[in-house]
Symmetry: C2
Subunit: 567 residues, 2 copies
Amino acid sequence: MTTTTVHENAVLPELVTKHKTVLDRAVQAIHERTFFSQYPENPSPAIYGEGADQAGLEAYKQLTGKHFNELQQGEPAGWVGQEESPYEQAPIGVSYPYYPVETLVKNGQNTFDTWRKVTPAQRAALLIETLERVKSRFFEIAHATMHTTGQAFMMSFQASGPHAADRALEAVAAGYEEQTRFPEQQVWEKPMGKYSLKLQKSWKPVPKGLALVIGCSTFPTWNTVPGMYASLVTGNPVLVKPHPKAVLPIAIVVAEVQKVLAECGLDPAICQLAVDPAEKLITKELAEHPLVKIIDYTGGSAFGNYLESLAKKTVFTEKAGVNSVILDSVEDLDKVMQNLAFSLTLYSGQMCTAPQNFFIPEGGITVAGVQVPYEEVVAKLGEAVTQVVNNPKAGPHVLGAIQNQVTQQRVKELSSLKGRSLLDTCEISNPSFEKARICTPVLYEVNSEDREVYSQELFGPIALVIKTKNTQESVALAKEMALEHGAISCGAYTTDQEMKELIMDQMGLAGTPVSFNLTGGIFLNQNASFSDFHVTGGNPAGNASFTNPEFVIKRFTWVGFREPVQQ
Amino acid sequence: MTTTTVHENAVLPELVTKHKTVLDRAVQAIHERTFFSQYPENPSPAIYGEGADQAGLEAYKQLTGKHFNELQQGEPAGWVGQEESPYEQAPIGVSYPYYPVETLVKNGQNTFDTWRKVTPAQRAALLIETLERVKSRFFEIAHATMHTTGQAFMMSFQASGPHAADRALEAVAAGYEEQTRFPEQQVWEKPMGKYSLKLQKSWKPVPKGLALVIGCSTFPTWNTVPGMYASLVTGNPVLVKPHPKAVLPIAIVVAEVQKVLAECGLDPAICQLAVDPAEKLITKELAEHPLVKIIDYTGGSAFGNYLESLAKKTVFTEKAGVNSVILDSVEDLDKVMQNLAFSLTLYSGQMCTAPQNFFIPEGGITVAGVQVPYEEVVAKLGEAVTQVVNNPKAGPHVLGAIQNQVTQQRVKELSSLKGRSLLDTCEISNPSFEKARICTPVLYEVNSEDREVYSQELFGPIALVIKTKNTQESVALAKEMALEHGAISCGAYTTDQEMKELIMDQMGLAGTPVSFNLTGGIFLNQNASFSDFHVTGGNPAGNASFTNPEFVIKRFTWVGFREPVQQ
């Protein structure tokens, strides 16, 4: 029990000055909620420099087949790597240092007394500096993301690069704001008639302790950095536990964070990469460790529910969701179906926000005031999907590749479910990667009575068309699915104001954000940093809310101190 | 599944105008954290009017021995009352209507669609209006509090009246601020080079649903109104379940809330009193009801831990705490001991913030630079207590009466514990209430090795003096107690700056607020609305934090909606 001197260092104050404008702008953006992005999503040479893409690809290739040597975590217990490219269907051959759980926890915990005494403003500035460093490696991270997740290049670049960095910045800004929202100190003076009581008071946001961030295989940085940066900015050392099949993108991020920490004279173990040894998953051991106080998790519901049941932990999860599309009435059916087909096809539906259940009334829907029969609506959806996937300029680049064989298997086994097939998967090829694991979306019809079929997440390129009695039933079922099985997004098409309000009201009660009448270049599976809240805790899909105040304030505790003023 | 029209009513906009200044001032106070109080704590005629006390006493007497007829909850299943005055040791004879759990839940749930559609500003204004009405009954509530809790008149008036109302206002202000912290709507426009994507977005704080507030026997309004008003302002209907022995004070508050609701054309069932039938406690049935989404609780740890373990509920608790006093070095030992003796004596230690464990080094403490032996320090504490309780002008009015016989029994059984008695309880009488159940504080010495004795809450007028090796051990033990068994307050006396920083640091990690070097008219068991955070979740004593953002934001969910702007 010793007091550690607050870290004094020339670099930190400089970083505070350097990044003040960005931090203030980010805090402002959180409250304005109009478009804001610090990291440009367009991978053009005009922004990122001539040859940046090629250099990133080369840098990625340099990493493959080798030990990943950039981490500053001391002598490892061994090296391990099991990533495989969905594009090559072959190992990428990077191996990472691994450490016993006790070593990771001990080294992380050892940094707590130093890290918690760095001020919130200094932590925020240091973390923004790390994002600047990561920015210089966006292309490298993009190729690493492609070859671990199967995302197409554009999504790999945007999701793992600028979009992830924006979400990280958002968490940093939110955490900074919450920690500085009350005065550090104040004189409290209570008038008592002839005299007054006078106390000097101060308040401190006290971090909770070691944090664990558990990544997923499909969005290794986008789903990891918000929790990671939220815990770091609030003073908690972090252990980043990536999915064994998607390590490289986040390993690069952690390496950059460690470099900045070291430059600031701080222990790089404030942020460690915790890779599983070859044949032993360490996630449970880490999660259950009494020194681990905060857990962020993205992945399946069973493990997420287990984590949520752990006593004395602050847990943020993003679990499975059953996302709905409600079709009621539209102006232009072709445009709607093109939009939905793209949403279904994008990264082969391997997104937590991808639509799965399409609720369509048996009497069809109104198109510009004219009733169009159910079968015609369904046929249009199938045609629109076929059109996207068969367009050689679009198909392969929208679909990407299937991250793992389980997803492919799920598509194959769909025909064993109750219902009828509306559109089968078809063969298409990717001209750049002839061995790519590709699976185009399938459509499958289910009756609204057969809840057991559509009340589960069927991760991947699978869309269920659920024939309902009317839109009221569609809304009731979409709400029920969200409340009982979770939902992260919802698409709704209606030209009827009253129906729109009903949908907002009912899906609102189910804690599910709704995108209305999307056509053109914006899709329900996309969401925007600094504007769209993501997974805010209103249903079983989770509470890893990028980024509302709850996502950051539960990572620390307010503690007050007071003492009479000598009068 | 119908949309309920948003409540339209002339009264609500008027109330918004009427209370805008108070609401804005309260929000400002939360962030300034200097002294602010909306409801004067001084029960003087100059403030509350000539004869207000007498009128309040008469009004209280009018209620005794009768049915409590002010609630607007429909035909009851029966009437029940089991309150006894600790001053008279006789029943007060008020009986309350009770209802089956299903009726309470159904009637509460039926109001949800209306209440959630009243705007946050209107809900806040309506609730402030209810506090104004409650203010007119502060004296009546004070006498009701005396004769249910055993508090002395002054504490009854202040804690159940103005201090409770200030805490309620604080919760209203915090809830209002959090719900209006993000824009209701915004145009989001993303530049895409030649064109831009333009979405109309809106965000809604969606309340979670029916809330249950479980009161305690010692502070029937102070510990109930924060959760009650926090849930109400965030749009959740509330069931107030009082302790069967302390109903009347909060029954008056609920009745006033119902009157204002009715005047606003709203269903009084938005806030119901849920009293236990004669021989059946309904708390568990209420808590486990699937429609109950939020629970606030004050009371013992066993039941609190059970509530916290319930799945799918948002739970706020204030449970037992083991509060410490650390004695290291002082300027004026007499003044310190007078202050601590008062803290021990105040309401016979029946406060969640009362000190219990006094850590004193075996080598004694430094007094104005001179070492004073341990035995002398301990003797001074005993003398100071004796002086307070034997002062006929102070003793009875500070001690009040013992709320229930279990507490009295606990004092008697103390001698069976390992250790030695330092000060026995003595006989004193209350001139106004000769039958009052009185028990003066006892001091008991325990060795620091005998953790099993002092690692439990000994609720009531019991102080343990724990002899430690040195102040470092005192701090380590106080921290350990807080982290393992909970703590809500801590007093520390040191003139050494380094020691002070160590205590702040270590007790901060244990989530425990510390009052340093209190002497004179301010005591560690007091805490101030709008300034001192109360129970912020950093240790097992609970997380019912009056009022930090977490206390209100977990009662609703942010949900966003978006739609392309027609261009």
